[in-house]
């Protein structure tokens, strides 16, 4: 079956020749019209539209955005803050950066609509430290919008006022975790908070109710406000509504970002038809479908079970290529849609060495607050680094699994899962390669690229 056409909703103008990131260009393309209409409606209506739309968060967890907004404590009398999570750091993910660089006003419009819907008077865009260019673009875009009275006091005579501030991180993956982000925004070390009691919806920024949404999620809000929640559900598949941006990297002929209706494209279509398949003379070996912390899939394996289609349960028997790229299907087969970063590896890749790379990243990014993640992530890194540098032992595979199993579910934040799932899944899917690595290493030619 041929791949469906891209459905560019968020990325409508990304990489479009002649489209620039200034306000004039955005206005020429109908910018801020949706915001003006939205400001004429009741905030509760907008929240209802988002609820109806079934929009799921695009930051990684896929939590329903409408539910998140409903959980906000609106009775405390404290101000409600909205934070745009632009700390896009998951390896393999590069969608938010494109939006910020090429279409910042789309984000600002989505943010302003969300702020209006939730009666937010102050919003922050927390952008990762490694994106100084993006921060400058956002600053400029907000200044333009403020000058045009699209942000700030008494916006377009609506009596509604809301400010947006850009805050730059200092270069830490953990700042993408919402409570770590909040701590960082408050000027502290980004140590994620314990939940309970510090749920952002109740005790977030400065102990006030706070909404933290991903950049792409807020852009979707703009389109939901435009077309209505009902119409939005027609895009994608039930419970996996809207479009999804896939950032494909690694060993395919045409890596890049592609936007499709959620669940209407399979992984095989994406990799083979859209991205042009493996490099000449190579075959696909493995793919990580949702950013490097998602569990890896091995080409050749089958996923069987029952799934709900409409009202009835249907058997499924999928190869890797048959898996629809949506939250539920990927979750069902034991991995996740995550942030949409699809990392492809072909048969030239040694899985031990790939894992060594991933472990190096996570050990470097563990904040160090709680024990299992802090010690476990570095231990796993030390093991895989030792292995790739020639001191691999047969028992290392079992040891790695033992270490990884002691982390998830026991940490303050989801980083525990993020750092242990790669090791767990690599070992589950490629255990033989790890067991035999010490033998292989005896005869293998030295790696061309320096290893971690």
């Amino acid at each position: 079956m041929p791949a469906p056409q891209q459905r560019r909703l968020i990325f409508a103008h990304i990489d479009e020749p002649g489209y620039s990131n200034d306000l004039a260009c955005y206005l020429r393309h109908g910018g801020y019209a949706v915001m003006k209409q939205a400001f004429a409606r009741k905030p509760e209506e907008l929240i209802d539209e988002v609820k109806k739309s079934g929009l799921r968060g695009r930051g990684g967890a896929g939590f329903p955005c409408g539910v998140k907004w409903t959980l906000v404590d609106r009775k405390s009398g404290k101000p409600i803050y909205l934070i745009v999570n632009a700390d896009e750091s998951e390896p393999g993910t590069f969608k938010d950066r494109c939006i910020i660089h090429q279409d910042p006003h789309q984000l600002i419009e989505g943010t302003m609509i969300s702020c209006f819907a939730n009666n937010v008077k102050q919003a922050y865009i927390y952008i990762r430290g490694e994106m100084p260019h993006g921060a400058r673009i956002l600053e400029k875009a907000i200044a333009e919008a403020r000058a045009a009275n699209l942000v700030g006091q008494n916006i377009l005579g609506s009596n509604y006022s809301c400010e947006i501030y850009v805050h730059r991180g200092a270069g830490a993956y953990i700042c993408g975790e919402e409570t770590g982000l909040i701590e960082s925004l408050e000027g502290k070390r980004a140590h994620p908070r314990i939940k309970p009691p510090y749920f952002p919806a109740v005790l977030g920024l400065y102990q006030c109710p706070t909404i933290v949404n991903n950049v792409e999620t807020l852009c979707h809000v703009k389109h939901i406000a435009d077309m209505g929640g009902e119409a939005y559900t027609k895009i994608g598949t039930p419970n996996n509504t809207g479009t999804r941006i896939f950032c494909v990297s690694g060993h395919v002929q045409r890596p890049g970002h592609y936007e499709f209706e959620c669940g209407r494209i399979t992984l095989g279509q994406l990799l083979n038809d859209v991205c042009g398949g493996p490099r000449p003379g190579r075959t696909f070996k493995a793919v990580i479908p949702g950013g490097s912390s998602a569990k890896i899939m091995r080409f050749g394996e089958r996923y069987k079970g029952k799934r709900k289609v409409g009202a009835e349960m249907v058997d499924y028997d999928w190869g890797v290529e048959d898996v629809p790229m949506d939250f539920d299907s990927l979750g069902m087969i034991g991995t996740m849609g995550g942030s949409g970063g699809v990392i492809v590896m072909d048969d030239s890749v040694n899985m031990v060495e790939a894992l060594a790379n991933i472990n190096a990243f996570y050990s470097h990014e563990s904040c160090g607050q709680c024990t299992p993640c802090r010690e476990g992530s570095l231990w796993m890194k030390k093991i895989t680094t030792r292995m790739v540098h020639g001191d691999a032992r047969e028992q290392d595979a079992a040891l790695l699994k033992g270490v990884a199993d002691q982390i998830p579910g026991r940490t303050i934040c989801a980083f525990g899962e993020a750092c242990s799932w790669p090791t767990q899944s690599f070992l589950a899917k490629f255990g033989d390669e790890f067991k035999n690595y010490h033998e292989m290493k005896k005869t293998a030619a030295p790696s061309a690229a320096p290893l971690i």
Partner: protein
């Protein structure tokens, strides 16, 4: 007295046992009520909850509710409420009790979690217990015995961190032993109000350090050593001096101010090695000031008075007492009592004054209060002097009336119970005009000018009681014997009372207290033996109107003055 309102109680089930605890109690404390210890490092009952060590992971469940009727669903087999167990372990420190909460503290899931955490904490730990001062009172050591695997699966290089950082004048840090629990960071910020500690670097390389250009030098810095669950923070003074299991603990009271922080004095073979706080939630929680910990050094000080002297020459006790008796017979005696004496000593001082038919003077000692555990009144027991009737009004810092009496020749002999008369405002010329009987522990200008010096004991070498700023009667016990040949203060005072013609009074604490209880109305029901370890609150109404100098301190608000 108004009874405190009965707290809302919540019944929870821990390891199959039901217990009712006040609302807001966390699971660790609830389990403690049942005698079940949930291991933990970062949690401290007097600090905010950090939840970072993950050692207190337990299995937890709540009663299943029927969504329609909101009634608990009963298990048909047992007839008891069905429990929805949470599939992931939860931390006990950050979980407050809720009605019907069920907890398993030692299920396979809880044990596995603890074993995992223990292994993780040990991989980068230097495992240098044989040379570590914390050994013997180290939580990591204790829990590793219970939850460690006994061998290491870790074959990599351990992380290298600074080994002996001087965080401040009194605290030494070994970063390799640190388990990053943040107790010290939270203490400095929340209790000492001196937010100087924090971490640099990230992940397992996180390193505890002071803010650049600052030091951990506040007067509470050594509490960080007490609460450090491992050997990372050690007392520079105590470091490498003695293994803790050789030390004997004696309950004592910090005599540096009227707060009366409860302490433990740690000694071995008559030598004191350190002083640490003893928990008293009504007085000092689990803290004490650094200044109070250094006081044991006065025991072995070079200027200690070790033998009685008569006109500067060493003499026997009997000769000294005979000389005092002669001075008493000559008449015109004045008594200077002390706010640093114990209640018992003040009672005998009052007896002495009564036998000589004079009233006693007292010297006040006022400094700056720090609003925590050092109050403005630097005498530990001014209120004891009020309670025993040694004085009726608050003392002044200068003995102006006594000086006038000396100048006028109305006073020929002054008995000073440990007070330096020069410091209290008497000039050398005035001292030269009188005969001085000095009872004290250390040499000073008064002991040098005294005709008779009878050495006494420090607070660590005797037993007794103090009345603190809350009018709480608290007892301290003898930790080490006094210098050879030095009598207990009570013996000396009883002998002086006898010499003054006041009759024989027992100097043995138990017997003395029957006399005190009979004569001092506020202490009528007290005996030394039945005094609780956390002290006894006396009725302060008779002295409520006095303008005491204390400001606000931990657990104490001064009475509003008109």
């Amino acid at each position: 007295m108004i009874a405190p309102p009965k707290p809302d109680l919540v019944t929870v089930n821990i390891d199959g046992k039901d217990i009712a605890v006040p609302k807001g109690t966390n699971v660790i404390e609830a389990a403690r009520h049942l005698g079940i210890e949930i291991p933990h490092y970062c949690y401290h009952p007097k600090l905010t909850v950090a939840g970072n060590c993950r050692m207190c992971l337990i299995e937890m469940g709540t009663p299943a509710m029927d969504p329609a009727t909101k009634a608990p669903i009963l298990d048909p087999a047992t007839g008891k409420p069905k429990i929805n167990w949470i599939p992931r372990p939860q931390i006990g420190c950050a979980t407050n009790v809720s009605p019907g909460l069920h907890v398993k503290t030692d299920s396979p899931m809880a044990r596995e979690s603890r074993e995992g955490v223990t292994e993780f904490l040990l991989i980068n730990h230097p495992l240098d217990c044989p040379i570590c001062d914390q050994a013997g009172e180290c939580k990591l050591q204790e829990h590793s015995t219970a939850y460690g695997r006994g061998y290491s699966r870790f074959v990599e290089q351990k992380n290298v961190k600074p080994k002996r950082t001087q965080l401040g004048p009194r605290v030494t840090l070994d970063d390799e032993r640190c388990i990053l629990c943040t107790r010290c960071v939270r203490f400095s910020k929340e209790v000492a109000k001196d937010d100087v500690l924090g971490f640099v670097d990230r992940g397992s390389y996180s390193t505890l350090t002071c803010y650049p250009g600052r030091q951990l030098e506040n007067n509470y810095s050594l509490n960080t050593v007490d609460i450090c669950p491992v050997g990372a923070l050690t007392s520079t003074d105590f470091r490498f001096k003695m293994r803790v299991w050789f030390l004997k603990q004696t309950p004592s009271i910090d005599p540096e101010s009227s707060v009366g922080a409860n302490t433990d004095v740690w000694s071995r073979e008559g030598v004191i090695y350190r002083i640490t706080p003893r928990q008293n939630d009504a007085v000092n929680d689990t803290w004490m000031a650094d200044s109070g910990r250094a006081l044991y050094k006065q025991v072995k000080a070079d200027n200690r008075l070790l033998a009685p002297t008569l006109n500067g020459a060493a003499t026997a006790n009997e000769m000294a007492l005979k000389a005092v008796a002669n001075l008493f017979q000559a008449g015109s005696v004045a008594i200077v009592g002390s706010g640093r004496s114990s209640v018992e000593e003040q009672f005998l001082t009052r007896k002495l004054a009564a036998a000589l038919q004079v009233s006693a003077h007292l010297v006040s000692r006022v400094g700056l209060g720090d609003r925590i555990l050092v109050s403005a009144d630097r005498n530990p027991n001014v209120r004891g002097a009020l309670v025993t009737g040694l004085i009726a009004a608050l003392p002044a810092s200068q003995l102006t009336a006594l000086a006038a009496d000396v100048d006028a020749g109305r006073v020929k002999t002054v008995v000073s119970v440990g007070e330096d008369l020069t410091a209290a405002g008497l000039t050398a010329a005035q001292l030269a005009k009188i005969s001085i009987v000095y009872l004290g522990t250390h040499k000073n200008a008064t002991s040098a000018a005294a005709q008779v010096v009878i050495p006494t004991l420090t607070v660590f070498e005797k037993s007794g009681t103090f009345v603190n700023q809350q009018f709480r009667l608290q007892k301290f016990a003898r930790a080490v014997p006094g210098p050879a040949g030095v009598n207990d203060d009570l013996i000396t005072l009883a002998e002086l009372v006898a010499a003054a013609g006041g009759g024989i009074i027992s100097f043995e604490l138990g017997a003395l207290w029957t006399v005190i209880a009979a004569e001092v109305r506020p202490l009528a029901t007290v005996t030394y033996a039945n005094l609780p370890a956390t002290g006894l609150l006396l009725d302060a109404t008779p002295w409520a109107a006095l303008p005491f100098c204390e400001g606000e301190t931990l657990h104490f608000k001064p009475a509003a003055t008109a």
